[in-house]
Subunit: 181 residues, 2 copies
């Protein structure tokens, strides 16, 4: 009955935490996009996954690949993460995140940060990360659904997947005063 | 460069064979569908996979699940198969098959055959296969693309994935004469 989300559970902090763990521990994901020029046919392929500092998933893709051409035409996409362990594949938790993709400008500070984080996670990406046809996309989560296995289904917001920094931990209290610059 | 299908290889019998092996050995798949009522937003989730006698992929899904509701509204879908082994996830071969889904009538001979084959492959499915909200869908392949790892990209037809029975092996020669029935 793993496929049967008949009982939609209330989304509590434990569910949000599990969802964030599934997303951030994933080395790769299945990405669903709309095939360009197909009148809306879905297309699914595999991508390497990185995570930006705020928790946003990022991918590094070639302009020659089908999913990149799709995202350039329609930025809507969906990521599936969650490792398949032993036994029944549906007994293992998995997460679907529906996202809006945005290309990362190669000359931006974001690119430097994302590139460094991505290579740290996927060292082999260093071989092609700077090729002219490769680019990073940030996939901003809009909403998500998680199946925790055996019918434990949850609906989540995009915000549930983000890293929420406590203001007090990163800025001294007086920094809430207007900045001079 | 695993993501870089810059060199599309010629689809030979070896590639077709690898594609059929990837599809038929898969216990589960990522399935991309169009989310109903979303104006075409892609949605990806995980399904158990079976194979009909002619090689057509089949899934067993609950009417309560998002992917089933999607397929009932728009039969176009895409399957991703190919196990992720050790090391670089993109070094391992994977296959995208774009399909048209058709619900299997519960009272048909096809249902009996598919049900038996599916349970043989996924014994735990016996627990819910006969629940009234569960149904089999045959996913007829229309076209496919395979990434054999490290840029070895191939385009395949739906026919390439089918089991081609040699007429001579299943029917005696005289059976090509018109049948009496």
């Amino acid at each position: 009955m793993a496929d049967k989300p008949s009982v939609l559970r209330e989304t509590d902090d434990e569910a949000r935490k599990l969802a964030r763990i599934i997303l951030r521990s994933a080395r790769s994901a299945a990405i669903a996009v709309i095939e360009p020029g197909s009148d809306g046919f879905p297309f699914v392929s595999r991508v390497l996954l990185g995570i930006d500092t705020d928790g946003t998933p990022v991918i590094l893709v070639s302009a020659l690949s089908a999913h990149t051409q799709a995202l350039s035409a329609d930025q809507r996409c969906s990521l599936l993460t969650g490792e398949i362990g032993k036994g029944d594949p549906l007994a293992h938790a998995r997460l679907t995140v529906q996202c809006e993709a945005g290309k990362v400008d190669r000359d931006s500070a974001a690119h430097t940060r994302i590139r460094e984080r991505f290579i740290r996670r996927h060292p082999k990406a260093q071989l092609y990360v700077d090729f002219p046809d490769f680019a990073f996309f940030r996939l901003t989560p809009l909403k998500a659904s998680m199946n925790g296995g055996f019918g434990r289904a949850y609906v989540l917001t995009g915000e549930d997947l983000m890293i929420r920094l406590r203001r007090s931990r990163i800025l001294p209290q007086w920094s809430s005063a207007p900045s001079i610059t």
